[in-house]
């Protein structure tokens, strides 16, 4: 009988597929406990509040206390489940834009400050939060570009680094932060003004972050709320991976501080240098 070679091809593909599947399952179960110790708790909880407790996949150079710090500023959850070793400032970060008393006088650069603004050309927005000796920056274009950077502060200058060679270099003053950010081979220049409190907004301009587990995969959303109340946000799918697929973030409801992503409620937390929340 003549061999039915097309059928053999199909069956070979089936065998190969099952083989790859088994390999993935074995490899995954072996590595998830070792490589990503924080992975399993996320897989277990799909409720959004729990997911906002920390961002473990982010390999920041920050030390342990700071990774525990992003307690949720969600107004709905009065008692956050996270171990609140954070200061009183984190409990009311939404109304965070308290007067920067520390940066009074002729000090050229404030010790605590938040900046947001569009990059030159307007294709993306950048947010920079400086809190004492530490700083966080985020750039996104409301689409496939999202870059988180962290680092330390030195006398009015920031040199932050992020994943895949992303880097930021800027000078910041009381009025604005001016510099450039390189990510994915693109150089963005900007001059982002200092955030000012807007009384009419429930959520102040600034940098917001939310993490959650959606259908078993962790996502990390970042929004930059600009001074005029408009927002630009991107969401990274599987942010722990080397090149997370990234897309437009769902709209952040500025009255509740939440967003809906694929049926899951994301609770955004403010990353503010001024209040220290998120640091």
């Amino acid at each position: 009988m003549k061999l039915n070679t097309p059928l053999v091809t199909l069956l070979a593909g089936l065998v190969l597929g099952v083989g790859v599947l088994v390999t993935s399952a074995v490899w995954g179960s072996g590595s998830s406990s070792a490589a990503t110790p924080a992975g399993n708790p996320y897989a277990a909880t799909s409720s959004a509040p729990a997911a906002t407790t920390a961002a473990p996949a982010q390999s920041s150079p920050a030390t342990a206390p700071t990774t525990a710090a992003p307690t949720s500023p969600a107004p709905a959850t009065a008692a956050t489940t996270a171990p609140a070793q954070a200061t009183a400032a984190t409990t009311a970060p939404a109304q965070a834009t308290a007067p920067a008393a520390a940066s009074s006088g002729t000090n050229a650069y404030p010790p605590k400050a938040d900046y947001v603004g569009k990059v030159n050309g307007g294709g993306a927005a950048v947010a920079i939060s400086v809190h004492g000796t530490k700083a966080v920056a985020y750039l996104c274009n409301g689409g496939a570009v999202a870059s988180w950077l962290r680092g330390s502060v030195s006398a009015g200058k920031l040199n932050l680094t992020g994943k895949n060679g992303a880097r930021l270099s800027l000078d910041y003053r009381k009025s604005d932060a001016t510099g450039f950010l390189m990510t994915d081979g693109t150089k963005y220049t900007f001059s982002a003004p200092l955030v000012h409190r807007v009384p009419s907004l429930h959520r102040q301009p600034g940098l917001y972050e939310a993490t959650a587990t959606v259908h078993g995969v962790m996502i990390k959303a970042g929004w930059i709320v600009l001074q005029d109340g408009s927002q630009i946000g991107s969401v990274e799918y599987d942010p722990g991976s080397a090149f997370p697929p990234t897309a437009q973030a769902p709209v952040l409801d500025l009255s509740t501080g939440t967003a809906q992503y694929d049926g899951v409620t994301l609770v955004a937390s403010l990353i503010s240098g001024l209040s220290g929340s998120g640091f």
Binding site: L10, V20, G216, V217, D238, S241
Partner: protein
């Protein structure tokens, strides 16, 4: 497979029986696509992927494998056109059938790990138009390919069946490539 005994006697109605021979393969192909989609939707995506040394991420592994599959698929179309004498002034060489078969096998076998990875680690997702289209076409591709493979050895199928099935498989694969690897490369850059 199911009983596919070729009637030795002359078929009473060539057209209807020819089309009839497409029913079972089509049903099986639909079942394949449906199974993949349901698995991708119900199975909780792990996010865990096997990376291959030398590549920066699983996304690049998949993008390059998908690109290899697409290149071989282009070879498929060209070799098929030559085989059927559709390209003027080109006579089919004796090895064209072998080229067609093996380029197809390689394209298929290269695409399989990509699909497994997608379904296992990411699942059937709908969070953007690109992702939705990709999810649907990804499942449809293996259904269409199954149909093509199943009608290939059959005698007496309508003459248009194989070209249509082949064109469908090719079109879906190219669309898959554009919604995945092309998007990936244009977003994150072309490298390993």
């Amino acid at each position: 497979m199911t009983a596919q005994t070729d009637a030795p006697s002359a078929a009473p109605d060539p057209v209807s029986t020819g089309i009839g021979k497409l029913i079972v393969p089509s049903l099986i192909g639909g079942l394949v696509a449906l199974t993949l989609g349901i698995y991708g939707r119900l199975h909780s995506p792990t996010g865990v992927v096997v990376n291959i040394a030398g590549f920066s991420s699983a996304g690049y592994v998949k993008s390059w494998l998908a690109t290899v599959a697409t290149v071989f698929a282009i070879v498929q179309v060209i070799s098929a056109l030559v085989m059927y004498g559709k390209i003027p002034r080109v006579t089919a060489p004796s090895w064209i059938g072998t080229l067609h078969r093996w380029s197809g096998r390689i394209a298929f076998l290269v695409a399989v790990p990509v699909a497994v990875n997608c379904l296992y680690a990411l699942g059937f997702q709908t969070y953007s138009t690109r992702v939705l289209i990709h999810s649907i076409l990804g499942c449809a591709f293996f259904g269409a390919f199954s149909i093509k493979m199943l009608i290939l050895p059959k005698r007496g199928v309508p003459g248009w069946a194989l070209p249509v099935a082949g064109a469908l498989v090719f079109t879906v694969l190219v669309a898959l490539w554009f919604t995945s690897a092309f998007w990936f490369f244009s977003t994150f850059g072309v490298h390993r």
